[in-house]
Symmetry: C2
Subunit: 241 residues, 2 copies
């Protein structure tokens, strides 16, 4: 959780932020659809201001699950299609996801993961370790919900731990990583109905967006890895190899 992150240690860490329902799924989808960059901001007001300053930029994201007034796009992954986002800057704010990203902004490397790009993220982290970029500590930061652990993020994190164990030799797991991995073994592969049965899934159903979970539950259909570069997430693909 963001509250578990030691600010003094962030600079030495390689951090992966997960907000499976829905911020990291939407951002990964947007970059895969050709968005030029995704700029996270703290508030809807800031999103509108920043988007107004950048030619062609779109204000994107949610509060209480829905797009704030004046926004171009909400936080539904399937809305991020090439026709809407290709080549554009997306200014993005969500209730939990963007706050977690800012907590990790000073990390040695900062990536975003969701079920859709788990394999690509694990490959990218494994390559970073293999190339000896000094990575001693890998942190998986679950955005959670209102500061508390959320099942969707922990489920996704557990699968990521499994991938990392397979891809990174000599990895030692902290208790939280082992707990997430056991959770994921218990829950199995992602399913939309399983995601619906979480606090975040129920909240999404409450605002009539339950169909978004179909996209959140897709596994490994994207090769894109959103990577933090001077204030924005950009697509780094073809990192596998």
């Amino acid at each position: 959780l963001p509250s578990e992150l030691d600010p003094g240690a962030v600079g030495e860490m390689s951090i992966i932020v997960i907000d499976a329902i829905r911020a990291t799924t939407s951002i990964s989808t947007a970059l895969a659809a050709g968005a030029a960059r995704v700029v996270p901001v703290q508030s809807p007001v800031e999103a509108l201001e920043r988007a107004g300053e950048i030619p062609g930029a779109l204000a994107c994201g949610e509060r209480n699950g829905l797009p704030p007034k004046g926004f171009d796009l909400g936080n539904s992954p399937d809305a991020y299609v090439p026709e809407r986002v290709a080549g554009r800057t997306l200014v993005f704010t969500t209730s939990n996801g963007t706050a977690a990203m800012f907590r990790a902004a000073d990390a040695q490397a900062l990536r975003l993961a969701c079920f859709r790009n788990l394999g690509a993220v694990a490959a990218a982290v494994a390559r970073e370790v293999r190339e000896g970029a000094g990575t001693r500590s890998i942190g998986i930061l679950c955005a959670g919900r209102r500061g508390r652990v959320s099942m969707d993020d922990a489920w996704c994190a557990g699968h990521l731990v499994g991938r990392l164990v397979a891809a990174v030799p000599g990895l030692r797991l902290a208790d939280g990583a082992r707990a997430a991995r056991l959770l994921a073994l218990g829950l199995g592969l992602p399913r939309a109905d399983g995601l619906a049965d979480t606090d975040a899934g129920r909240a999404l159903g409450g605002v009539g967006l339950i169909e978004d979970l179909e996209a959140c539950a897709r596994l490994d259909d994207l090769e894109v890895v959103p990577v933090w570069r001077s204030g924005a997430f950009v697509a780094v693909g073809e990192e596998r190899g």
Copy 2:
């Protein structure tokens, strides 16, 4: 985790604190052995001061796993025998456990749980709910380790969730509770070797106290429920019914 607790909501909650390795195991053991009360304090200095003010009181607990200088007892559950503690006040401080207890001090009801008294705690909470004491929200607070989730506490919490589901009709589980329950299903019943394979267990091994885990892994052999009453934990037994 303590950081997940909403201070504004604590007053409406019934909270159970778990620090399975070892604070809540030691305190439950001490009260079962006849200690009159256990007074948690923040620091070793404060423990020595307070113990010096109360006739017959003992300074108990740990820093870095070991009893601080001048302490009467450390944090090894099996050291809390009737010959040492019966009728006495224990002033108690540990690295993670006592801080979690203070976070929950304003709860409507505050109890301590460990593997040894899980059944007794679940029965006490079920009775509180049945008697309509206004309990709307039950919180299981895992002390964790340095602010992070620890496997031993989550394992114990998951078994407590299972007991509560059986004992409290109509319970709805938040994501964290469900995640802990799934974790406990994966890990099974407590075992000393399983506890040894956690961050807290390894730290305990590092200071030569791995044998303490035998006591921490005992299941349901105590009927005592430590309950918070005006600044101290006291034994409430025979709460089952």
